[in-house]
């Protein structure tokens, strides 16, 4: 082994953990605010999971349909999240995303264009108008590359002005943070290791932005990469912050289920937006049977009407294949359970019989290319076999909507992107995550910079905390009696996939909590073979405890919430319950134990709730809330009469 006692120390104003869209946008903002900024990237720079986003970034620019505006986008977002969203976040998101997209063009992004040269926008599930700025089906890559290149351009400025690329913003690639260090209630720094060498590194900084993404690696079938182990969620919990909405996980309805080389890989919703339809093994286009009452008015009832919509959206209602993701995922699940699925346990997604091969290749180039190369499946000739895949966690760090500052008893901690909670409520609309990254990444970075300025003195990192962090990190390497981290991960994935998956039941959830408690014992004794240099077994062993605590939060909250809403479906409580809409479930950590508390949702401002029809609100609100709404409307009326 090389050096085990040396710990490299760095001093920064703002440390951003995570180098996906939210992290990079936050870092750009902190650096523009003049702060010395570090970006910690678990992988190489530019490889973050953001590259996987295909569809686009939702922003009400109104380039394709001029009737679109932030109010419509806000309405769609709240509807998609089943009104459980933090309304203020949904409002900020809808208002600011056009600016954030336009800003990317000044960084060099090249979106697809409309005929008059503006950014083109495409249709997507749950969005009333064409709204997603896109680049073919590789929008996420464009976004991450653009932000990466913007950071390079800032570094070039710094080189010119200060003589070094790294003078004011530095990327620490292949570096993992295992612990946040506190001084009382204040963030004082972050401790971690370099993947390459296994050496430890300590960042002393008054402000930390979490942008670590999601938790999908705790599930068997997932589109998420190895990095998605809930690091930020767990770091926040251990630092005294709280998590909300952890019961809501989005299972993307159309992940590939066969062949195994592409299992879990998403088939973008644009396949359905461009005419792709879902069929069961009887060849029936089944989505017409699954339009819920709350959406009945907006969706077509016959195949003929649905097919007309693609060319004439103003005079026809949308095809039911474009229902929000949770509805489509549940419908597929029901078909498979009823024995009408494919041999691999999915359904067919057919675009081959509906569009010419040439058109498919033009509209969905990377999709075509990906399946041809990865699985030798030609989507222009045969239907795809798809099914629900763990894709996104709506829940996350409970934050102040305006600043991204974490709630709970910790100061100096900020969160943005998938790791933060509230914005998407119980279900995220496709396209809203890329714009979420930009809007709240910028906000978190800016507010972290302001916070760092506001401190009279720098918090200090305690020696004991660093020693404890070193010990925890080395423990799996020093044990040789424990189990393999790979076995433990598989067992965890089995528990979460089978018992806390897309359809949940009370007894299974209780069973899951018991198994997670057993796993906790086993994970505490995990042992990793090999040394400290680039040892994936060791890294997984360290990630496991994060995955475990976050899984406990999900299972506990899922057991508590006795209703079905968005990304949380309880077979024993299949209906949406308006009284549950008023409640957020908040997780915190007390020692080692996950605590769950109920917290009322903030009440929407009058001018925002006024954007909805009373008839629509009646589907979501309690009678009491509706009475309040009526009173508010009456007030506004009298106001007008005066």
């Amino acid at each position: 082994m090389t050096n085990t006692t040396r710990i490299e120390r760095h001093h920064y104003d703002v440390v951003v953990i995570g180098a996906g869209g939210a992290g990079l946008r936050a870092a750009i903002e902190a650096r523009l605010a003049g702060k010395k900024t570090a970006i910690i990237s678990k992988s190489l720079f530019g490889k973050a999971h953001t590259v996987m986003a295909e569809g686009g970034a939702a922003a009400a620019m109104g380039n394709v349909n001029s009737r679109d505006n932030w109010q419509v986008h806000f309405r769609d977002t709240m509807r998609g999240g089943k009104f459980l969203n933090n309304f203020r976040m949904a409002e900020l998101h809808a208002k600011e995303s056009p600016q954030r997209i336009w800003e990317l063009e000044t960084y060099g992004a090249l979106f697809d264009r409309t005929k008059d040269g503006k950014i083109s926008q495409r249709n997507f599930g749950g969005h009333e108008y064409p709204r997603l700025a896109h680049v073919g089906d590789r929008t996420g890559l464009e976004l991450i590359r653009t932000l990466q290149q913007k950071i390079v351009s800032l570094q070039q400025e710094d080189k010119r002005d200060h003589g070094s690329y790294d003078a004011r913003i530095k990327v620490f690639s292949e570096t993992t943070i295992t612990e946040l260090l506190l001084d009382g209630d204040r963030v004082a720094g972050a401790f971690g290791y370099y993947r390459e060498s296994g050496e430890f590194v300590l960042f002393e900084a008054p402000a930390v932005v979490l942008a670590t993404g999601g938790v999908g690696r705790s599930y068997k079938v997932t589109s998420n990469s190895w990095e998605y182990t809930g690091d930020g969620h767990a770091l926040a919990l251990r630092a005294g912050a709280t998590l909300i909405n952890m019961e809501f996980l989005q299972f993307h309805p159309t992940g590939m289920v066969w062949p195994p080389s592409v299992k879990g890989i998403l088939v973008t919703e644009s396949v359905r937006g461009d005419g792709g339809v879902l069929k069961n093994s009887d060849g029936k286009r089944f989505m017409f049977d699954y339009v819920p009452d709350v959406f009945r008015k907006q969706y077509a009832e016959t195949e003929e009407e649905a097919d007309r919509w693609y060319t004439d959206p103003d005079n026809n209602r949308r095809p039911p294949e474009l229902l929000p993701r949770d509805e489509v995922a549940r419908a597929i699940n029901s078909e498979v359970k009823a024995g009408r699925g494919t041999p691999a346990g999915g359904v067919y997604l057919d675009i081959a019989s509906r569009k010419s091969a040439e058109e498919i290749r033009r509209r969905l180039p990377s999709m075509y290319h990906q399946f041809k190369e990865l699985a030798d499946v030609d989507i222009t000739k045969e239907p795809m076999e798809v099914g629900p895949t763990c894709h996104y966690v709506m829940g996350g760090v409970e934050v102040d909507p305006d600043s991204g500052a974490a709630f709970g008893h910790v100061q100096g901690l900020f969160a943005a992107g998938e790791v933060s909670g509230g914005m998407h409520g119980s279900n995220r609309l496709g396209g809203n995550s890329l714009s979420d990254l930009l809007v709240f990444g910028k906000r978190a970075g800016g507010h972290a910079a302001t916070y760092a300025d506001s401190l009279p003195a720098r918090p200090k990192v305690g020696v004991a905390a660093v020693e404890a962090a070193v010990e925890t990190a080395l423990a799996p390497l020093q044990r040789d009696t424990g189990e393999s981290p790979y076995v433990l991960q598989q067992d965890l994935q089995a528990v979460m996939g089978d018992l806390v998956g897309i359809i949940r039941r009370e007894n299974e959830l209780a069973d899951a909590l018991g198994r997670l408690a057993e796993l906790r014992e086993r994970v505490a004794k995990v042992s990793a073979a090999g040394g400290r240099r680039y040892n994936p077994g060791w890294h997984l062993a360290l990630d496991l405890r994060n995955m475990l605590v976050v899984s406990e939060c999900t299972a506990k909250a899922a057991l508590e919430r006795r209703e079905s809403r968005g990304g949380h479906t309880r077979e024993d409580h299949p209906a949406m319950d308006p009284s549950w809409r008023r409640v957020n479930l908040v997780c915190s950590l007390d020692g080692d134990t996950v605590r769950l508390a109920r917290k009322p949702l903030p009440t929407m401002r009058t001018e925002l709730i006024g954007l909805f029809d009373r008839a629509e609100l009646a589907k979501y609100l309690t009678d009491e809330e509706l009475a309040e709404f009526d009173a508010q409307v009456a007030d506004v009326e009298t106001e007008k009469e005066r």
Partner: protein, 365 residues
Amino acid sequence: MGNQNSPGPGKPGARRQFRIWRGDEDGGDLQDYVVEVNEGEVVLDVIHRLQATDAPDLACRWNCKAGKCGSCSVEINGKPRLSCMTRMSTFTEDETVTVTPLRTFPVIRDLVTDVSFNYEKARETPAFAPPADLAPGEYRMQQVDVERSQEFRKCIECFLCQNVCHVIRDHEENKQAFSGPRYFIRAAELDMHPLDAKSDRKEYAQAEQGLGFCNITKCCTEVCPEHIKITDNGIIPMKERVVDRRYDPLVWLGSKIFRRGQVPQTSVTSEHVSGAVRGSAAHGGVHSHAGGSHDPRAEVQAQRGVNWDREVPRPTAPAVDDHGKLPLTELTFDRAAAPSPFGDDVTFPLPPEHLNFAHPEQDKH
């Protein structure tokens, strides 16, 4: 995904032979593994299975497992590939699959190499320069105009092109002065960006990125998993236009008067230059690095750049007599000296359209 051991609904797994390079910068060697492979799997699935069973500390990079992030670049049976995009069905059942790290970059451990060279070159490439007179939201571009750059922005930075480029693969010392295909297409992308305010991308590529070292073997294009036509659409147009400008007498004169990079902007727009080239070619006798030829057609060809696309004739064996000997005797040979090593049917100087080599220092003329 990834770590699952359970076979899919297809055929039960077969045992297959793998050889994987294990070691670090101090050395290492190929180790043999026998591992279960199921129908429909890719090489990365098998590496993950090895990690979960025989080799828990086997180091490899991966992220998306969908050919979109470019992390899992390795050499499989000597071919640079993304391991997530290499289907096991492309090998025969009894074929040993050998997986080694990228050869051009220093090994960190096992299949993981130090690719920081690429990030250094990325930092040296000047960033997009936004137009000063347009506010965010005012950018207007036509789809046909953005498509050329969009092709290069498909790049997933797997660095396979950098790995196979002979200029760096075979000559470590070139790394200083040579950015490699990834950054030539970055320069090309910015050069073709409809609104980029910087106008000397090509000159920069030639002067600072070492574009001239590239001798167009097209290896980069061949390995690109995104099928970007790196050479044809990126490097060659960059070289051609550099050539245009260099041999435009006006630009040449300008570059003697002004220092490089200070060439007046008016003379470097491509319309102007190509006009000038046509004009001068008609007069004939313009200096060309191919030299000598006064054939106007060949001269125009030379002005457009060297004929990189020309297929190089494969060397052929000479005809032999019944005894397998070359049919040469001093007595019967039709000339008095030894034959030309280039073949007696070749006359010098070679016409420029038959060249496919640009001297790396051609710009120093």
